[in-house]
Each structure stands twice: as structure tokens, then as C-alpha cells.
């Protein structure tokens, strides 16, 4: 694991919001918003892995996609510091400019089955962006693609085959090769290993780790599997209903979780030792609708230790240490 270097962050997300309008009726009146991401801020240092964890529907994936502008943001800003030149505000870049910056900011999708165009060969899928961004000429693109495929553990001949001829794990490697082709500096791994079975997961995780060192990548690793996250992350951000409730280094989150939600999440991780005494923090009820989140702390209705003030105002982030912040009224 790399220690995050102090200095200019690779990417700085502040106040990111993504609302999906809900429309009803014949005239499609705008009746409400689904607040999928509601004011999220974090930074990622070069070569650092920040994990975003949380339950299904908490806005992790939307957050990753919005920060790459694959979804148009509702509010907030993302500052990206390229290797050379001044920092860029991604959300105010013109479209053409944004396409150029995409070289540096790549994404690996969750579903290796649907994220590859079924009618293109693997060679074209990986090589297309190389040609578009004029990194390769038509002559040397085949060699570059072959190198990339070998690097992610596929046969160089794979480039003439179609995605459906590969297994899930192999396809995810194609997805990784595709993301790496442009020499990115940040890769958003959107549940990149969730669709794979456990033995393949381990292979792909190790591959991601090796590649991080080799290509000096920063990762935003979106996942719900805490053991995977612990293995890979430098820092972890816990999301609940569109907001970050706790963020800290991997050690801080796992050894010293402060937010009741983080504590509940961690207590739900099964132990390898069946004899170990489990002390699960049970959570009752479901995640409330992000269309109509509860007043005050969003977690209060399910929180085992909530108090009166929890339902009145949303808690601000408080610092537990220099790197550890938590949004809970009970933390002092």
C-alpha cells in the first residue's frame, strides 16, 4: 500500500450533487428529486486508493459516474490536476476539452458482460481510444493492444476475438486493458470485481494492485464487499443515502469506526473463525427513500443510539484525527 504523498491532490471533489428528477403525469410535471448524491466531498492523492463503500442504492456508483461527467452533475465541482499545466474544473470544461481529459480519467464497469460492445473485436475495443486520442497510428496500434492484453494476463491473439468468446474474468481483464490503454492517472473501479467469483476476484484484485504500482494509478474503488476494500484501500469513505458519513484511513475505519452506521457495517462482515464471538450491531428497517430523506441525520431512524437532536439537524463533519472525519452528533 502506498502512503499518500502530501501535496497537490490528483482530484478534489467538493459538494458533488446529482439529483434525478421524478416526473409524473401526462405533462411530466417535475414532482420531486431523487437525491442520489447529495453533497459529497473528498480528495484522492496521486497513486492513492480511496474506497467508497455503502449499501446498494446509497449513491456510490452515481458518485463515480458523475465525477467523470458520464452523468451531468446537479451541483458541485471536481478539480483535476493534470501532470502538466494548471488544475482543471471538470464540470466547467467544454465538451471537446472534456473528451481530451478523459485520457487521464478512466473507469472500469461492474458488469463485464454488458460493458463491451458485442459487435467489436477485443482489439477494436481496446484500440479504438488509442486511435481517437492519436496515441497510436494505425500501424502500431495492433502491437500496443497486444502488449496491453498480455499485461492484463490475456493471450495476444485475443484481439481478434469477440467479447462473447471470453469468460467473465477474462472480459473484466479486457475492460481493464481498455481502461489502461490511454495511460490514465485515475481509474474509477465501479464494483469492478463484484460480478466475478471469489477465486477470479483475487486474481483481478492482485492485477489491479500490480498495475497501480506499474502505471502509478490513483483508484476510486467503489465496492460493497468490505474484505475486498480492506485489502486494496489506503483510505475509505462510507456513504449512506447520498452522503459520506465517515472517511478515514483503512486502519482508522476498521480499527476505530466512529459512526454507528460504519460500526454496523463492519459488524456484519463474517469472521473467518467460526468460534469467534460475534457482536453484531443489528439494524432495523430499510434504507429510507432518497426521494424523501428523513429530517436531521439520515441514519437516525435506524440508528441504535440516536437521540432527540439527531432528528433535528444534519450533523456536520467532525474531525476524529487529521485524516479521520465523521458526521455524527454523538461524536465529540
Amino acid at each position: 500500500m502506498n502512503t499518500p504523498a502530501a501535496g497537490t491532490p490528483l482530484i478534489e471533489v467538493s459538494g458533488l450533487k446529482k439529483y434525478f428528477p421524478v416526473k409524473r403525469g401526462v405533462l411530466a410535471r417535475h414532482v420531486a428529486d431523487v437525491k442520489a448524491v447529495d453533497g459529497v466531498s473528498f480528495v484522492i492523492q496521486p497513486q492513492e486508493t480511496l474506497s467508497l463503500v455503502g449499501e446498494s442504492g446509497c449513491g456510490k456508483t452515481t458518485c463515480g459516474r458523475t465525477l467523470l461527467r458520464l452523468l451531468e452533475p446537479t451541483a458541485g465541482s471536481v478539480r483535476y490536476s493534470p501532470e502538466k499545466g494548471p488544475a482543471l474544473d471538470l464540470f466547467s470544461l467544454p465538451r471537446a476539452e472534456m473528451r481530451r481529459v478523459r485520457r487521464d480519467l478512466q473507469i472500469i464497469f461492474q458488469d463485464p458482460y454488458s460493458s463491451l460492445n458485442p459487435r467489436m473485436t477485443v482489439g477494436n475495443i481496446v484500440g479504438e481510444a488509442l486511435l481517437v486520442h492519436k496515441i497510436c497510428t494505425k500501424h502500431d496500434v495492433a502491437d500496443t493492444v497486444a502488449d496491453l492484453l498480455v499485461r492484463v494476463g490475456l493471450h495476444a491473439d485475443s484481439r481478434n476475438r469477440f467479447p462473447h468468446e471470453f469468460s467473465g474474468g477474462q472480459r473484466q481483464r479486457v475492460g481493464i486493458a481498455r481502461a489502461l490503454a490511454l495511460g490514465p492517472r485515475l481509474v474509477v473501479c465501479d464494483e469492478a470485481v463484484s460480478a466475478l467469483d471469489v477465486s477470479i476476484q483475487a486474481q483481478v484484485l492482485n492485477l489491479l494492485k500490480d498495475l497501480q504500482e506499474e502505471f502509478k494509478l490513483g483508484y476510486l474503488f467503489i465496492a460493497h464487499d468490505l474484505s475486498v476494500v480492506r485489502y486494496l484501500s489506503d483510505r475509505i469513505a462510507v456513504m449512506y443515502l447520498g452522503r459520506i458519513v465517515e472517511i478515514g484511513t483503512t486502519a482508522e475505519i476498521f480499527e476505530n469506526p466512529q459512526h454507528p452506521y460504519t460500526q454496523a457495517l463492519l459488524s456484519a462482515v463474517p469472521h473467518a473463525d467460526p468460534g469467534a464471538k460475534s457482536c453484531r450491531v443489528p439494524l432495523s428497517g430499510d434504507v429510507p427513500s432518497p426521494m424523501n430523506p428523513p429530517a436531521g441525520c439520515h441514519f437516525a431512524p435506524r440508528c441504535p443510539v440516536s437521540e432527540a437532536r439527531c432528528t433535528q439537524s444534519y450533523p456536520e463533519h467532525r474531525s476524529a484525527s487529521e485524516t479521520h472525519r465523521v458526521a455524527c452528533h454523538l461524536f465529540d
Binding site: L70, F109, S114, N117, P118, R119, A129, G175
Partner: protein, 353 residues
């Protein structure tokens, strides 16, 4: 692939037998027969007295082999033996003209005009229908693919809504009504801009090349419009749905993440995939292409395949009915085969090895 095609072609033989046998028997079970239609029975009975009439009907039936057992007649239709009085000796004929039927590539003559061989007439009619339907299919595809993309990429906007309403209107208008309205509007009784009947003017033979082409073009405008609007409405909706399905896919998001321009994303990644259902629809259009439209050809008095089938039915001309149905059954089977083959050609995930 070749093996697959040969296997499928062989399978078509029993299917075709089944279809033709069914049609052959059922038209003979239907009320009315060519002899009585021809002699005008039921239209007032002016000839219905005396044995003269009965004997003429019997003679007509004998001449055309219609007095034989229905399955013997079917054998005669399939061939290659001619079962008529001057046919093969095996069926009690004189042996003058032993071979006929489907296997001898001889579909006989029309029953009313016994000097008109059906195969030749079929060829003449097919040329007319193909001209009409090819132009119409071309226009349909040329308009509906861009329109489908247009509305799919503007899903949920006012423009998309307007296009949807217009297309549903078009789709719901019956062709015979549209045809008559066009005639009323642009024909002699209305603005008088366009000729109404047939494919060429009466004096077309005297026109020079360019004038004849112009004349033909004018005659085609209204039939082609009526022929096209329904399938245009249908196909654009198909295209829109196909495109919307594809745009939602993860690999489109992948394409955007690569930093491709919107034009490349839509026209290279999305269009190719959404064309699959539309291209294969083309194959299923083949029977319609060849079969023509009864309504359009009737309304505009165009001597094509559709009208030929209709005339055959009205005259109870078994030979015409059998010829047109066999032909369109064959076209349908070929169309289905072509559509399966195009699937394999356009989608690498499908293979028939």
C-alpha cells in the same frame, strides 16, 4: 454455414408440400367453382336452362381435369404427370402433352383465358409489383432509420412526442382510405396534379424516353405514398425502440468514457447494434415485397401480383390461386431463411456451425 443453408432448404420441401396441399384442398371445398363462375351461374340464371348448360360445365371440368379425385388433381398440380385428357398415359390421357405441374415448372394456363400461361403472366405482374415495392422499401428505410435515431436521441422531448403522435396517426390510417383521399385530392376531381389509374398514360407508347420516365414517375407517386407510409411509421418506431435499448447499454457508457465524440458513439457504437433488428426485418418484408398489396393495386388499378391474387379469387381460378399462394409461400420461407442468415452475418454472437 453452407451445410446449415442446405439443411434448411431441404426442410422447405415438406413445408411447401403441406402449405400447397392445404390450400389446394380448401379452395375446392369453398363454395363456387371456376366452371359456374365462368358460365355466369348465380348472376341471373340466363343460361341455366337445359342439359346444354350442364354438359358444357361437365366438358369444361373434364378438359381441365377438375372431374378427377381431389388428390389426383393435387398430384397433377405437383406434377410431373399431366392428368388432363391430353396428358400422360398413366392417368388415362392421350399422351400428347405428358408433362406438367410444379415439378415440370409448368403451372398451366388461366382457366378463363386458356391461351395465357400462368408463369408468363406471373412474371409480368411481378415486374410491376417489384418496381412499386422496391421504391417503397428504399424510401421506407431511407426515412425511418434517421427518424428513429432522431427521436431516440431526443427521447422525452417535445419533438420526440410530436414525432410519436404523427407516426401513430400514420400507422392507424387504413390504406384504402388513404388511397381514395389522395385520389380525391390530387386526381382529376381535385387539384388534377397526378394521374390516378395504372402505371402509364394511354398514349405512353408514343412518348420519348425521358417523357415516358416522367410519365411513369407521375403515375408512381400516389401508389408509392400509400404503399410506404404504414411501413415507414412501423419501422421508425422499431428503429427508435432499438436505438433506445442500445443507448442504455453499458458499452455505450464505455464508449463515452473512452472520450469518443457523441457522433462516433451514436453512429458507430449504437447504430450498428440497433440496426440488427431492423436489418433482419428486411428479410421478413420479402414476401410483402413480392406479394404486393391487394388494396393499393386495386385502388390505383395497377396490374401487379396483389391484384392477380385477387382476380384469381374472384374468378375461382384454381390455377391462379395455387400459383400465387405457392409463390408467396415460397417467398415467405426464403424470407425467414434469409432473416436467420442475416442474424448470423450482423451479430458475431450467433453462429450456425
Amino acid at each position: 454455414m453452407l451445410n446449415y443453408i442446405i439443411r434448411r432448404l431441404l426442410w422447405m420441401i415438406p413445408t411447401l408440400f403441406g402449405i400447397t396441399l392445404l390450400v389446394f384442398v380448401s379452395i375446392r371445398l369453398a363454395p363456387g367453382d371456376p366452371a359456374t363462375v365462368m358460365m355466369g351461374v348465380g348472376s341471373g340464371g340466363e343460361m341455366s336452362e337445359g342439359s346444354d348448360f350442364a354438359s358444357r360445365i361437365a366438358a369444361f371440368k373434364r378438359e381441365n381435369g377438375l372431374d378427377r379425385n381431389v388428390f389426383v388433381q393435387y398430384l397433377g398440380f405437383i406434377g410431373p404427370f399431366n392428368i388432363k385428357p391430353d396428358g400422360h398415359e398413366l392417368f388415362g390421357g392421350s399422351g400428347k402433352d405428358p408433362w406438367s405441374g410444379l415439378l415440370a415448372l409448368d403451372l398451366g394456363t388461366e382457366l378463363q383465358r386458356s391461351n395465357v400461361p400462368i408463369l408468363e403472366e406471373l412474371g409480368r405482374r411481378l415486374k410491376v409489383t417489384l418496381l412499386l415495392s422496391f421504391i417503397s422499401i428504399l424510401i421506407t428505410y431511407a426515412l425511418s432509420i434517421p427518424l428513429g435515431i432522431f427521436s431516440a436521441t431526443r427521447q422525452g422531448t417535445v419533438l420526440d412526442g410530436a414525432v410519436t403522435v404523427v407516426l401513430f396517426l400514420l400507422f392507424s390510417i387504413p390504406t384504402f382510405w388513404a388511397g381514395l383521399m389522395l385520389i380525391l385530392a390530387f386526381g382529376q376531381s381535385g387539384l388534377g396534379w397526378l394521374p390516378v389509374l395504372g402505371l402509364e398514360s394511354k398514349d405512353a407508347a408514343n412518348l420519348s424516353g425521358l417523357e415516358a420516365l416522367w410519365d411513369r414517375g407521375l403515375h408512381l407517386i400516389m401508389p408509392v405514398m400509400v404503399y410506404t407510409y404504414g411501413s415507414f411509421a412501423y419501422l421508425s418506431r422499431q428503429m427508435r425502440v432499438g436505438m433506445m435499448d442500445v443507448i442504455r447499454q453499458d458499452y455505450i457508457r464505455t464508449a463515452r468514457a473512452k472520450g469518443l465524440s457523441e457522433r462516433v458513439v451514436i453512429f458507430k457504437h449504437a447504430l450498428r447494434n440497433s440496426l440488427i433488428p431492423v436489418v433482419t426485418l428486411f428479410a421478413s418484408v420479402l414476401p410483402i415485397l413480392i406479394g404486393g398489396s391487394v388494396v393499393v393495386e386495386y385502388v390505383f388499378d395497377i396490374p401487379g401480383m396483389g391484384r392477380y391474387a385477387y382476380e384469381g379469387l374472384v374468378q375461382r381460378d384454381y390455377n391462379i390461386i395455387m400459383a400465387t399462394t405457392t409463390f408467396s409461400a415460397f417467398a415467405t420461407l426464403i424470407g425467414i431463411l434469409l432473416s436467420d442468415i442475416t442474424y448470423a452475418l450482423v451479430d458475431p454472437r450467433i453462429s450456425y456451425e
